[in-house]
């Protein structure tokens, strides 16, 4: 007699988990966005500026609390051209998401890139500026997009 085997399927409910995550850096960041400012933190030991501003220095491993404002301009680091949405459906107009480095800061911030005609002409190292929403509410979405200068 052949051995009986069965296939078992079941859903996995991820909403039953709860985590403690440090939200300090984002709190500071969105507080700044409400006033159309880019806020971060600076390490008093090595001078590294983090945006969003972490509560500790990655390099020196010490607590940092010096809040600094950086100009809403910087350079384009890496980027990708999105031709589909999160479900894999093609989008009508491809869009670029990117990481940028604000002047004087060492950390990378992700967002959408605007101000280009043909994405083949977009290059790393191009200059960008932040475009805020007209009405800011203190949310990440206040940072509407990065505009090529």
């Amino acid at each position: 007699m052949a051995n009986e085997t069965r296939i078992m399927e079941s859903p996995w409910d991820l909403t039953t988990y709860s985590w403690k995550v440090e939200a300090d850096a984002l709190n500071l960041f969105v507080k700044g966005l409400k006033d159309k400012k880019i806020l971060g933190r600076k390490c008093t030991k090595c001078g590294t500026v983090y945006v969003p501003g972490t509560s500790y220095c990655r390099k020196c491993l010490i607590d940092i609390d010096q809040v600094v404002e950086v100009r809403p301009e910087g350079t384009l680091d890496a980027f990708t051209v999105n031709v589909s949405d999160i479900r894999g459906n093609p989008v009508e107009h491809p869009f670029i998401t990117c990481t940028v480095k604000f002047d004087g800061s060492e950390s990378l911030v992700m967002g959408t890139l605007e101000g280009w005609q043909d994405w083949h002409d977009v290059r790393e190292g191009m200059r960008i500026k932040v475009v805020f929403k007209d009405v800011t509410t203190g949310a990440l979405a206040d940072l509407a997009y990065f505009q090529l200068i």
């Binding site: 980027f79 051209v81 999105n82 992700m110 979405a141």
Partner: protein, 416 residues
């Protein structure tokens, strides 16, 4: 004082494929174990300890070794499970090495596997970043997925994350998407010469790859790894046991190994990411350390072949540079002159690599097992490189782009 360790046998469960509904995890592993033992005169009872591992949560089973142990004769012996994400296989191997090098055991088996048809790998991946993603959601990010926003940042799953690294690499190396197409085609045609590889495409060309749709530029469907089911088992023994077994001829000696971590990159928004994902500084640091350990002065001349862990094809160009096998930014040029092919001067992934076969928990160990087979001269089906292999390097990669392992195997042990 550490002891020399030899790899005396490698076993696969068979050809890696996308679906194996006919077996469960222990049944998937068992043929790999039997094959590894079958190539030696060892009996199952000769194995003193096991180090095993697979990716966490991908199959939705948290401790598969708990019910797989007695199927590989682990009952009554030490069994250690190691799970370190993408580098799992390499970490398993390195832990098995430490078992022997430390003098604790003389004969140890390392097993790595993944059975991806049992779960949803992307859900498993999401589990890694879920706390951060949920935090981000609480701060009101742009939700319009049509125009960037959260959908754009997360679009394409792991491919989306890797595309930033790909773009950054292309910019640094002054290369184009055609180079990624070309290396992807080389990997798939190499895979056709490896009887255990998953995606075997004999004579695959750049044009074949270029036909596949873009997921997020510059990465196409043809540049991404498959999700595979498969298992690999390796037997590691001490130098004295190798001599006792009369096994000093066709073995691969572990000459150097190491691992390293930088800060998590790509999308690490909450913590302020400071490292470009194409930088991979730790890969350079670890490689240098490993070569020193192995007594290698010029890796470009003294290493004949490399097996690198590349979930996405641009990495097959990036890692050889970071491992010091090729000058920085020169991989596209080396590829174009045929240096990376099986008969070239620095063959990369004669096995077809991870973009052809990716059973996650096995993948980083398969890099070591394939490097070992190249040293032993036992790579089957035409993927043995024609050059005599004195040294081969195996590389593993994982985490949020920041974990790296490097293992160097060779024909002669390091004098202790």
């Amino acid at each position: 004082m550490k002891r020399n360790v030899a790899i005396i046998s490698v076993g696969y469960n068979g050809r890696f494929v996308s679906k194996r509904p006919d077996v469960n995890i222990p049944e998937l592993i068992e043929p790999a174990v039997t094959n590894a033992l079958g190539k030696t005169k060892l009996k199952p009872d000769d194995i003193q300890a096991y180090v095993v591992g697979n990716m966490h949560t991908f199959e939705g089973v948290n401790g598969p070794h708990l019910w797989a142990s007695d199927h590989f004769n682990g009952s009554g012996k030490p069994v250690m499970r190691v799970a370190t994400g993408g580098t799992t296989g390499a970490s398993v191997f390195q832990a098995a090495y430490y078992h022997v090098a430390s003098g604790m055991y003389d004969v140890v088996m390392a097993i790595g596997w993944e059975k991806q048809d049992e779960g949803d790998s992307q859900v498993g991946l999401v589990g890694i970043v879920l706390p951060e993603a949920f935090t981000l959601f609480q701060f009101g990010p742009e939700m319009n997925t049509e125009r960037g926003g959260v959908g754009g940042l997360g679009g394409g799953g792991s491919t989306g994350g890797a595309s930033y690294q790909a773009m950054s690499y292309l910019s640094r190396a002054h290369a184009g998407i055609e180079h990624i197409d070309r290396i992807a085609a080389l990997m798939r045609s190499n895979a056709a010469k490896n009887p255990y590889a998953h995606l075997q495409q004999p004579g695959c060309t750049e044009a074949d790859i270029a036909k596949t749709p873009i997921i997020t530029y510059p990465l196409r469907f043809g540049h991404t790894c498959p999700t595979s089911c498969g298992a690999v088992a390796m037997i590691l023994v001490s130098e004295s046991k190798a001599k006792k077994f009369g096994l000093t001829d066709r073995v691969a000696w572990v000459k150097g190994l190491g691992s390293g971590t930088s800060d998590p990159t790509t999308g690490n928004f909450v913590e302020g990411q400071i490292t470009d994902p194409a930088e991979q500084h730790m890969c350079k640091v670890v490689a240098k350390k490993v070569y020193t350990m192995a007594g290698i002065k010029d890796p470009t001349k003294e290493i004949q072949v490399a097996e690198v862990y590349s979930g996405f094809s641009h990495q097959d160009l990036m890692w050889p540079e970071r491992l010091g096998l090729v000058k920085e930014g020169k991989s596209p040029e080396m590829l174009d002159k045929g240096a990376f092919a099986i008969g070239g001067e620095m063959p990369i992934n004669p096995s077809g690599g991870v973009t052809s076969t990716n059973a996650i928990g096995a993948s980083a160990m398969v890099r070591v097992s394939e490097a070992a087979l190249q040293v032993m001269g036992l790579a089957e089906g035409g993927h043995q490189i024609p050059m005599k292999v004195e040294n081969a390097v195996a590389h593993g990669w994982g985490g949020l782009f920041q974990f790296v392992t490097v293992t160097l195997v060779g024909r002669t042990p390091v004098k202790s």
